[in-house]
Structure formats: structure tokens, C-alpha cells
Symmetry: C2
Subunit: 182 residues, 2 copies
DNA sequence: TTTGGCATGTAATCCGTTACATGATTAG
DNA sequence: CTAATCATGTAACGGATTACATGCCAAA
């Protein structure tokens, strides 16, 4: 069997929510897990093909008045494979932060440049925080009684804490940067 | 001119510290910026070739008693290019957290699995924190008077705050997970 | 009429890791 | 003798994005 990528499992996960077409999966990814995940069509469609070949999903074609639509449903085998994967440790990804790379190599004399990089990072984090707030509110409002709500909020909380840490770090760093330049 | 990747700039940055061979660059990356960056030889050597062709670095061959060694030195043009790049905004990288993906799709009934994932993440963050502590100490000790020390500590501080946020989140989440399962 | 949303897919390209190939020197 | 470290490089592969190609329907 061809190797399963994390994209495959993201799709399987999405299909546990409801049967969907590739297009709909992409839409829903954008509305639900975009805080920590992204998928492109270039991955999505080939991946669906693989999953179907592996019998982890089934395809049904809906011919309406529009263009044909391929609706995918997760199979029992698919659920099983997903459960297995969910229980394994996330594979470590080698770190690569362009921001920190720049900060590391910026010379102390270029203080204003460093400060501007840090400020941008701070702004971005603040923006994110706003988004997380909205999302949490919306989730609580629309899925107040769903047993999966807690689980979803955990992921939002993670992102929120990360962003808050960025803001704290930025404040601290900006303080240090501006004090030494004065 | 062939496109410049972030690897190219990481190398240029490294070469501002001192002239080095590809091998030495890799070693130093591992000892200095491994908290937030990584490079493989498969990238490094082709990248050096590109940089030389673009006259951003020069190559000098040292023939000792050992195998020939190619020592690269950053040129004025290289420094200029690097400075430019350091001042631009980091290009946004699409988020992909396997941990959060798993947490999102784990069913509430599989509480213990979620908890174990969270606990692992917590442990990993704690380990990292230890490493950051050592690194900061070592930096202060070895480069106590270097004007670049502050800049370097900023990057360590960033990583530390991120890791601390993970620990806080994990504690909070574990509390919630175990209370609902009880 | 033209833009935007629905809908599917492929091809080119990028950026990166891993594995392979080679070989000398040194320390155990 | 043999394992580790120094040292350079290429080839294969992987996983992902972006751009391309196509086309219909509805709304502005």
C-alpha cells in the first residue's frame, strides 16, 4: 500500500464529521482547523484518490444540475486506521523559525530593525488572539452541547497560549531593545 | 540569478561569525541555533555552490595532511544581501501541528489517549526547557562580553516562553481531561 | 457581462531530508 | 582492527504549494 501522509489522516478526520467532497473538505478545514492546519487542493485530490484505493473511504458521485460532485465517506477500516494513528506520537518536525534566524544575526547596532521585527511579530500574535477569541465564542455558541466541544477548545487554547507567550516575549524584548539603544 | 532560499541566508549568517567549511557550518548550526533552525548536508553543499556562483561567498581550499577542506568566507556583497534580508518580514509558514490535529479528532471517550498525548507534549517541553537553561548559562559564560550576546539570548528567551506556554497549557488541559473522566 | 463561488483535477516546482558513495585519520 | 570523527558531495525521494486548465451557475 502507498504510504499514508499526515494529509491523509487530516482528511480521514474531517470525514468523521460528515461525508464531503474534496472541495467541501477544503472549505471546512479553513473554517475549523485553520489555526493549526492547512491543506491545498494539490494535496487533497491525490490524497482522496489514494484513500479510496486503500478502501479507507468510499466515493459516491452526485449528479445534480451542477457539475458532478464526488462525495467521500469514511469506511470502518478508515476509522480504525485513524484511531490507530491518533494514538501514536506526533512525528517531530525540525524547527525552522525565520524570525529567530533574523533576530539571531541582526547586529546590535541595527537595533531599530530588530525592534521592528519584534513589533511585527507582536502585532501578528495580537491579531491571531482576536481570531482565537472569536472562534472560541462561535464554537461555544454553535456546539454548546456537542461532546467534542471540549476537545476542540483544547486546540484553540493551545494556540492562544502560544500567541500570548509571543506577546509577552515581544514586550520583554522590546523593553530590552529600547533601553539599550537609549 | 538563481533564487535564494532561507538556507542560503542561514549560511551567510553563519559565515558572518567566521569563515568555515560546509562541515563546520553544520557543526556550528547544531551548537548554536539548533533550538530554532536545522540544516542538512543535502541542502548545505548545493547552497554553498550557489552562493559562490553568486559571489556572495568566496572559496579557499586548504590542503593539509587530511582531505582537502573548502573554507568559505562571506563577501561584502554577501553581507549586503544578508542585511537586506534580515530587514524583511519573515515569510509566513502555513501552520501544521500534528499534535493538535490528533487532539482535535480524538473522541472524548478516548480520554486516556488524549491525556497521554498531552503528557508527552508536556514532557518534551520540560526537556527543552532544561536545554534552554543550559544554553543560556553557557552563552553567558562564554560570551559574557560579546555585544551580540543580548541578541542571541532573545532567541533563547522566545523558545523558553513558547515551551513554558506548552507546559501551562498541558497542565490546564490535563486537569480538564482528568476531571471530566472522573 | 463579468465576477465570484462551486467543483475537479494535473503539472511544475520548491524546499527539504535521507540514503548513498567515498575516503582519510585518529583513538580505543 | 574497528569505530568515530573529519570531510565532501550526489541521488532519490517526500511532502507540500502554486499555477495552470477547465467549466458551469448565479448574482451584481
Amino acid at each position: 500500500m502507498p504510504t499514508e501522509t499526515s494529509t491523509d489522516f487530516a482528511i480521514l478526520g474531517m470525514l468523521t464529521l460528515k461525508p464531503m467532497s474534496g472541495y467541501e473538505i477544503r472549505q471546512l478545514v479553513g473554517r475549523s482547523i485553520s489555526h493549526f492546519w492547512s491543506e491545498s487542493y494539490g494535496q487533497l485530490y491525490p490524497s482522496l484518490k489514494r484513500l479510496e484505493a486503500a478502501k479507507l473511504v468510499t466515493k459516491r458521485t452526485e449528479s445534480g444540475q451542477k457539475r458532478d460532485k464526488h462525495v467521500y465517506t469514511i469506511t470502518a477500516a478508515g476509522r480504525e486506521r485513524l484511531e490507530e494513528w491518533l494514538a501514536t506520537a506526533p512525528k517531530p518536525q525540525p524547527p525552522r523559525s525565520e524570525l529567530l534566524l533574523k533576530l539571531y544575526f541582526l547586529s546590535p547596532e541595527a537595533g531599530p530593525v530588530s525592534a521592528s521585527q519584534v513589533r511585527s511579530a507582536r502585532e501578528a500574535a495580537i491579531q491571531e488572539l482576536r481570531g482565537f477569541g472569536f472562534s472560541a465564542e462561535k464554537l461555544r455558541h454553535e456546539y454548546g452541547d456537542d461532546p467534542r466541544l471540549q476537545q476542540w477548545l483544547y486546540t484553540l487554547s493551545f494556540c492562544r497560549q502560544q500567541a500570548e507567550a509571543v506577546v509577552r516575549w515581544a514586550d520583554e524584548t522590546l523593553m530590552s531593545l529600547t533601553s539599550t539603544s537609549a
